[in-house]
Symmetry: D2
Subunit: 373 residues, 4 copies
């Protein structure tokens, strides 16, 4: 349920609602919409609704429906911005703001030399973050499964060398502690989008999460999977459209470009696009990347390798790092052409800072990162 | 088969090949690629291949494979440009050139007033052509089936009033004479993409054709349907991606944005995008239109109506003509940002002009419209 | 709208409703459900509804909704039986009754010898009807397009020789007179399922129609296409499930076996299954045919050829006529095992015979073929 | 690679190959095909191939290709039979033999009373095994997630009361020890079909596994997921077709009935069908179940509940246990009609018993359950 406070409700009145919720062992989510404070509880309960309606400062109590709650635009009207990196080692990257975030790197980490070469090339090309797989999900048990922890160490070395934060996939709850120790952002892959145990675990890790759409999943199912993570109290979730499975076989998957604006109407979470997995072939990556920029995506995830033909995985769709600089330049050109078009009505943030009553969810308003925007 | 002449082959040598082909009752298609003349015949035949290899001026004879022939990039390396209108009544519109062609108008012609209002609004907004349905394909026999010939008359009046050429759908071979008498361009709809009798008939009409992709047809099947039209000798075919049927139900169809560059790699024909039918909802039309521009489409087909909520068909996805001006401005802004990016390697035309030996296909080289480019 | 008469309404009262409808230039459809006469009109109109409610003998007037009308189970509760053949030349085949109708033959008619061999083989194997294509829809304009009228003549000769009625595809309105002159049943192919001009034309021909589901069409769209035919007054329509297009590529199409009971719940029309096009490979035809029998289909359409490997079209999925006898035997064995399971609640026919007031729709009750059941 | 021994090869010669493989730290899989012993190794290696070819008793060494190995029909030509239960507590159920195995029960375990009622009803109806979910995968984090270990205890009590072994889903590696302690068979659900960590873990548990096809996974991907389990040395895998995701929305999923014979041609593993999840509605469960029997499935998985309308999950598709007896009777009737049709060419087992050299894979020939067949 969504508890809308009066515009003139006092902090004390809001605090009483929060205290009641915590007494009942419910986690209250505090946000702001249309000039008033909003408290969300992820249950629907008639007696509680009646009781809340009687409390002072409460204007209205609305059901949140059977669908998404914390992930919904109804719950938060402004865009969420997810911050990755920004500690002493790496630059700070904000996904969901007006900037276009480019994440690039090899499909899998293969060896020290090629990873460092790729990392330097993508940084010099103007990319914001590095990607690379240490644990690889493979259809066949006999295929290369990634370097594991050794791959994580190499990614950390590449970060050290370039200052780029990195995202890497976590395949199972068992691998999570190792991956979370190294990575700046945890990727949940398409095949694990409905691995609910993993969703809960990455949520509880508190790290930023990149959640890729399952190739067999609807937009609404992706949002529901994000809800699993948000329900743990971890709001740093970035969604990723990467193509769905259809009858068309000219491309590896069919990029559902409309998913970007559809998600942006239903949810406040940022969404980026992976043109590489959608295309499945190198020469389609740039046109799909430009389409993603034009449709309004907050970022791009691109597979790049110093010598793509020798890549152990996804060679066909991996672009040469030699071409990445031109591609990033084109991406930024199209992105700049869009900015004056129209102010996005959803990017304002009311900068609500909640009273300190000990709940980490109280500074949920703008992800506690107001100064960013 | 594809007959590649020597770069130094004479016109007389080429003419002898053409004459032989016509003697055998075959229609020769003359084109130019990599600095030499190329003659295509739409059959594969071993004895003929051997005979041709022995003729003077012939460098190589290659099979065209089991797929598309006249439609293929292999047959013609430069982009085709399809010209619509340009007579005393209308402006001349070139689809397939560097410009971005915007075609807009109501789904169905409903009455004189709303059609004229729409036509003026889309012209004032900067659109290049008018669209509107007189014969409507409807899932149910009890739904509004269009105004028929009366609708064609109203479209002609709107053309007269605005100078915009118009495209309208032809549903059956029986309706073709009436539609071809009025329309500047004939649309073959998604449901008729494999109505082979209709494809042949619109081909033989000699009018420019807008061929929409079937909602569950592959790119290759669309190209094969275009081949039916080209095989009649009518080369003025524009393809249209309008969304395919998938499991995702957030949108009416899933816009297969990658189909645009895929088609451009396989074929020399222009391809435009219909974001309205793909989206199925009004507020997604603009982001999808911008994505289509960025991916490299040659044009857009947009449903617009002065009062969309009262439209008899497709109301949900029809934008208000009041908003069209802004949309066209945004489209042109993104299009301009792309032009300096990179010269399209496929748009050169070698301006081949064949000797006049009486075959209409001799000026096929650049659609006989070299001066356009 | 659906006009339900009182159980005790007289023939005169019913006749007055019919007369009124015809006066208004509406075609009344007379049926019977739950022990009373039912008259359907394919319009919804409030003043008329009010007037009808006031007429004697009328118990209730119900809207038929925005979906199918004449095709709906709501309109007729008993199963329709479509009769093919039965004149002096051929045996009489009833599709939709308790028997399992097997239709078999080559994909395309290729030559006299192989067609006659196939026809004799399928008759001797116990099949009920012959199939064979004279006009072939082909993805490419360069593929074999069928023998045309010559093929129809050969089919007629095969009918003469075996006594089996035959079904063959009609591709366009122009070909219809020729096809209707020869064929016992007209097939509308998957690619033409929404060729509305063709649907109307085959409807008006008055011949029995086999309507195949488009590979991109929902069950509801197939029923709507059937409605186009029924709305012309031609009730002899048999539906055919032949596989839909999905991401799975182990088979040519994915047989939507559930479409059979879904159609039977929504419509009174018979439905048969084409396992050959669904499978796309020979050795899957029999298991899919047996599944179709078990799920409750009224018949099967099977591609068979004396020498399948030499067939010009669909060779991979065509079974040898040498194996057809075994297959038909297995089909009949499974079909017999089902018959005692449960009486189909929908196959009763109340044998309503309407008064003769000159309307052809008056004997619509059981297709005028009561004695058959 | 596949090492085919001479028909006259001695046990000693075979033993030398096995010993060599183990020396190289490879797990050898021993089988029998076409009257000779076959040893499979899941690597391809040229020097080793050369070495093996030179060893006495070896007739041929073939590559196993890039696809499935242990799961392939090429690796084992006879059908695998998976045995569930059979200890002092439960009846012994053989899946993959000539009998038709019916597994029925509620979607989720809800409470002791309804579970025990369901268990008795399905046993009395003639079902062979009980199903019921203790850990439930739910799209939303706010839906009922199952009773967990309490549900397992209730399932064990129902087993005790009825003698029926039970299958239940395991959602994550963390839950596996608890589930494996109670369950007779572990189900890997559709959403986890490519959760490779879970596949490996259930494989290593050594328990029989029911692997459900992902709703948008191909048959080949399902077989590859089975390969993950077999590669751990656990050969007791049963596959389950449960419908795939398509554009058709009349049913919850589209039952890919052809997947059954396709799997049977490619693999020796048993395959059953879940008509409940495919249909999504109660009245379609029986026709789909009968189709599955006729197409050749080895068993059925059916959701049944004493009071389906009150079921907490999947109510729409759950049949009443009151109707299960009739359904099982119809299933057995159709199954019996099929048995005399034709002997399945794949069900012979040559009863190979390998010498005891300490490798568990030596008795792999017929799953060590020769007497069963």
């Amino acid at each position: 349920m969504l508890i809308l406070m009066h515009p003139q409700a006092t902090l004390r009145q809001t605090g009483e609602i929060l205290t009641l919720a915590e007494t009942l062992n419910l986690r209250p989510y505090l946000s702001r919409a249309q000039g008033r404070r909003v408290i969300a509880l992820t249950i629907e309960d008639e007696p509680l609704t009646a009781r809340l309606k009687g409390m002072s400062g409460v204007e209205e109590v609305r059901p949140l429906g059977s669908g998404i709650k914390l992930t919904s635009r109804q719950f938060r009207s402004s865009n969420s911005v997810v911050v990755v990196g920004g500690d002493h080692r790496t630059r700070r990257v904000s996904i969901g703001s007006q900037s276009m975030v480019v994440i690039a790197g090899p499909c899998a980490v293969e060896d020290r030399g090629s990873l460092l070469a790729a990392a330097h090339a993508v940084r010099d090309a103007g990319a914001d973050m590095l990607r690379g797989g240490a644990f690889k999900p493979r259809t066949s048990p006999y295929q290369f499964q990634g370097l594991g922890v050794k791959g994580l160490e190499l990614l950390a070395e590449a970060r050290q060398a370039t200052g780029l934060p990195f995202v890497t996939e976590v395949l199972s709850v068992d691998d999570l502690p190792a991956v979370a120790e190294y990575a700046d952002m945890l990727q949940v892959g398409a095949r694990n989008m409905q691995n609910f145990a993993l969703l809960r675990a990455v949520g509880e890790s508190g790290r930023p999460v990149l959640l890729k759409r399952g190739m067999m999943s609807t937009v609404d199912e992706m949002l529901m999977s994000a809800e699993y993570i948000l329900a743990t109290g971890n709001e740093s979730v970035v969604l990723c459209e990467r193509g769905i499975r259809t009858f068309e076989n000219s491309t590896r998957n069919t990029l559902d470009i409309a998913a970007v604006p559809v998600v942006q109407r239903r949810s406040h979470l940022p969404i980026i696009v992976d043109p590489s997995h959608a295309a499945g072939q190198r020469d389609l990556v740039e046109p799909l990347a430009l389409a993603a920029v034009a449709v309004g995506a907050h970022g791009l995830l691109i597979e790049a390798h110093p010598d793509p033909d020798s890549a152990l995985t996804d060679a066909a769709q991996t672009v040469s790092t030699a071409l990445i600089a031109d591609m990033v330049r084109h991406i930024r050109t199209v992105h700049r052409s869009l900015s004056p078009l129209e102010a996005d009505p959803h990017t304002d943030c009311n900068g609500f800072v909640a009273p300190n009553i000990g709940s980490r969810s109280l500074d949920f308003g703008c992800n506690g990162k107001d100064s960013d925007r």
